[in-house]
């Protein structure tokens, strides 16, 4: 196939060629960036929380007299534990995707703040109930669990477990066991490392990773009251949670059940990512509409060209061109226009990404998105031009002999 005659023909229709190419360029730019945004949202939604999500739920009560914390804990543990199907109930400060309980800035030298992490306070047995994997050190012994005194938020000095991600951040390449850090007046010594445990509202914020958490072994009472971790078999968990919510009114009439947060971890996770999911859905909708509009534009303009050139096509056919030659002519022409559009589109795509990076917290577009977008648009162009090109190929040679 000779490209020269096609280019010559295109030169005669500079404006129309330019318009299709521009449409392709814009589509390419929006397509690459929209796909990238979708991929970002999806990867955020696939976050591994580190806990046995399918088996866990939480019950949150508020509004009780803080002096009654120990009594409330005892009643709640007994009441919730009596529900058929419940494997275990533990007092905990918060769970992944639940309401935030305690974030604080930590320091290694008591002078410079290092980063902000989430502190999970949990009663004996919580670690096992959560299903956390200890990858170094050991699980807390009985005497590692300490009470919280007076108006404090945590035990003043505790032996804690941290996530492997946090260990790598604080002491890169070193053995974290036995190391110490501080948050205000509270002191912590690392006795173990868990594979993963995300913070309760796991959003990337600045350079903070969602997996930077600390587990503080704590005895229930004082501030550690009101939030309960329920573990049950996944198939009965939903039913157990319904009964647990109903039980609160009887077990703790002095407290108010937090209806918004007393759910299974799966439900809370689903709700946490709802905005991401609907944004991803919206982007998919835009991409579909965009590709459809672009394809219809190509069909419309190519049909017009075919009808304009009916006579020339007839002459070519009369001079010996086969149907396949005509088909290939229009396909090559479309390929050239789309390629021209894509070249501009790639520049635009990178430009839009740079703008998004500046105004919204969007990472840099990985370069491999560009060839994928290019191939998608080439395919779209070829598919869209097929209908008019087939009609062109069907033009009989006899048209050449007609006067109009």
């Amino acid at each position: 196939m000779q490209i020269q005659p096609i280019l010559a023909a295109l030169k005669k229709h500079k404006l129309a060629t330019f318009l299709i190419a521009m449409e392709i360029a814009l589509a390419c730019a929006v397509l690459c960036n929209a796909c990238f945004l979708i991929a970002n949202r999806l990867s955020a939604m696939h976050l591994n929380s580190g806990v046995d999500e399918a088996s866990l739920g939480e019950i949150v009560v508020t509004g009780f007299d803080p002096k009654q914390a120990t009594d409330l804990n005892a009643r709640m543990l007994a009441g919730l534990g009596a529900i058929p199907g419940v494997e275990s109930v533990h007092v905990i400060s918060s769970i992944p995707f639940g309401p935030p309980a305690g974030t604080a800035g930590i320091t290694l030298d008591r002078k410079h703040y290092n980063t902000v992490v989430e502190f999970y306070l949990g009663a004996p047995g919580t670690l096992k109930a959560l299903g956390l994997k200890v990858v170094a050190g050991h699980v807390p012994a009985v005497d590692d669990y300490q009470p919280v005194e007076g108006h404090d938020y945590m035990p003043l000095s505790s032996r804690v477990l941290i996530t492997s991600g946090l260990a790598e951040r604080l002491w890169p390449g070193e053995n974290p066991l036995g190391k110490e850090f501080w948050a205000a007046k509270y002191q912590f010594r690392v006795i173990g490392v868990v594979a993963n445990l995300v913070m309760s509202q796991p959003q990337k914020f600045g350079n903070r990773e969602p997996g930077w958490s600390v587990f503080v072994p704590t005895l229930p009472g004082g501030p550690l009251a009101g939030t309960y971790l329920i573990r049950a078999k996944p198939q009965v968990l939903n039913h157990v949670m319904v009964e647990a919510r109903a039980a609160v009114a009887k077990v703790a009439p002095d407290a108010v059940l937090d209806h918004e947060d007393s759910h299974t971890v799966s439900f809370l996770r689903e709700r946490f990512f709802k905005a991401d999911r609907s944004m991803a859905g919206l982007l998919v909708g835009v991409i579909v509409a965009l590709l459809a509009v672009t394809a219809f534009g190509i069909v419309g303009l190519a049909s017009f060209w075919v009808s304009q050139r009916t006579k020339q096509i007839g002459i070519r056919r009369a001079l010996g061109a086969t149907r396949a030659d005509i088909l290939r002519y229009f396909q090559t022409e479309n390929f050239l226009i789309v390629t021209f559009g894509i070249v501009v589109g790639i520049v635009l795509a990178i430009g839009i990404n740079l703008a998004l990076m500046k105004f919204f917290e969007v990472p840099r577009l990985p370069l491999w998105y560009l060839p994928v977008g290019v191939v998608a648009l080439w395919l779209l162009g070829q598919l869209a031009v097929l209908v008019p090109a087939l009609r062109a190929a069907a033009v009989p040679p006899v048209v050449a002999t007609r006067s109009v």
Partner: protein, 442 residues
């Protein structure tokens, strides 16, 4: 022919041309409708989110931003305010309140108020509570159904009085006049002295730094700040700068948890009030209480801009929608151009029969305008669909997304402008067609 006759004739020509190219016309209208629908949907949301919650006086209402943090906090004040907004310490807010240097002034904080039910066998529930001072209602033009707000004497004497929203009044008292009744909040009896009409400014500007939602339903119960703090109601957002802070005596603790808003007589009085703030801060520095001189006094809209209340997702969606509309316009240009080139012969005949270039140009612009109107009608349908979908989204502002008259008009204005821009190039091409060559080949 008169102008109106000509207009009618061109409309007729356009309709004939649409009938001849049904598919291309349908494609143009559909693409334009999709682009318009997406743009109007996202614009409606953006307008809702960035609206003025107090249009009659937002230019005269200001919030005071101080930097009460210790010397060790070396971040620039702009960053501190971006993060913490107008949150400031109780002592300073009350000092400024008592100075009475503005037309009206109020100090406020939010709290989760535990409300005891009025009927037996019902459970207590939590409602959004506002702890504030007397001027709050007059300053923010809060409308009352029954009764009124409280006085400064009530503030100072820690009177247990409360103003409740119409929603809470409906829930507890079936909407009857509940002034004089008792409301049990956090296990203390408060006397209801006022019931509000529906009041839910969007965004909820006064609560942005205080830990509440930025959009959505209004607050349920309003109580004098000093009475509520005395009854151990805890503020929703407390920012302390010392680990030794005594959370049981927040009023004197090194903590920021209240905001101060002031209403000035004229917007131009802001400079004088800012000077007053600077003098106050200088005095506090000499007393050793403050370590930073920074003072700001943004007006309401300035404060909303600084706090970036409009979510990034909404802005991103609007950009995306307009990118899409741009593609739809380019698409329409291409299709209109194809149609117009196909009709070169018709144009040649009309030109040869005496039609001027302007007449041809007008004819083609009217044709694009009609595509625009049709696209606008379709866009309106798509926008209603889009907003219906938005209302089912999880965002806190979702329920408020409705098409208002301004956006209804805007739909057609945008559609018409888009189609006329799209029509310019094809119409120009049409009017430069030379009559002779077109006639020759016939």
């Amino acid at each position: 022919m008169g102008v109106s006759d000509m207009f009618g004739y061109y409309l007729d020509l356009a309709l004939r041309s649409f009938k001849r190219n049904r598919v291309i016309t349908a494609l143009m209208v559909l693409a334009l409708g999709l682009g318009i629908g997406a743009s109007i949907t996202t614009l409606t949301v953006l307008k809702l989110l960035s609206g003025d919650p107090l249009p009659q006086k937002s230019a005269r209402v200001f919030t005071a931003e101080l930097n009460p943090y210790p010397a060790a906090v070396t971040e620039p004040a702009e960053r501190v305010w971006q993060q913490n907004g107008d949150l400031t310490s109780y002592t300073d807010a009350m000092n400024l309140l008592h100075a009475h240097r503005a037309e009206r002034q109020a100090v406020m904080a939010l709290t989760g108020a535990k409300i005891a039910p009025k009927r037996l066998n019902e459970h207590p529930f939590f409602s959004n509570g506002v702890m504030t001072t007397a001027d709050f209602f007059a300053m923010f033009d809060v409308p009352f159904e029954y009764g009124s707000g409280w006085s400064e004497q009530d503030d100072e004497s820690r009177a247990r009085v409360a103003v409740i929203s119409n929603v809470l009044n409906d829930k507890l008292f079936n909407g009857s006049n509940s002034v004089g009744q008792t409301l049990r909040v956090n296990d203390h009896d408060y006397r209801i002295i006022g019931v509000l009409k529906h009041w839910a400014p969007q965004p909820r500007f006064y609560s942005i730094s205080l830990g509440g939602h930025n959009y959505g339903k209004g607050d349920a119960v309003f109580m004098p700040l000093q009475s509520a703090l005395a009854d151990k109601m805890s503020p929703q957002n407390t920012n302390c700068w010392s680990a030794e802070a005594d959370m049981d005596h927040l009023e004197t603790a090194p903590c920021a948890f209240v905001a101060l808003w002031v209403e000035l007589k004229h917007a131009t009085d802001a400079a004088a009030y800012k000077t007053f703030l600077s003098n106050y801060v200088a005095q506090q520095i000499s007393l050793g209480r403050f370590h930073h001189r920074d003072v700001a006094l943004p007006d309401l809209m300035g404060f909303l801009g600084q706090q970036q209340v409009v979510p990034d997702d909404a802005k991103l969606q609007t950009n995306l929608a307009f990118g899409f509309l741009l593609i739809c316009i380019v698409n329409t240009v291409g299709l209109l151009l194809a149609k117009c080139l196909r009709r070169s012969r018709e144009i040649g005949v009309r030109r040869a029969l005496g039609a001027t270039r302007q007449a041809i140009f007008a004819q083609f612009m009217i044709e694009s305008g009609m595509v625009g109107v049709a696209g606008g009608i379709l866009g309106l349908i798509f926008a209603e669909l889009g907003l219906w979908a938005i209302r089912h989204q999880p965002a806190e502002y979702a329920k408020l997304a409705h098409l208002d008259p301004t956006m209804f008009v805007a739909t057609f204005v945008i559609a018409l402008i888009a189609s006329l821009i799209a029509g310019l190039l094809p119409a120009w091409r049409a009017c430069v067609v030379a009559p002779a060559p077109q006639l020759k080949s016939v």
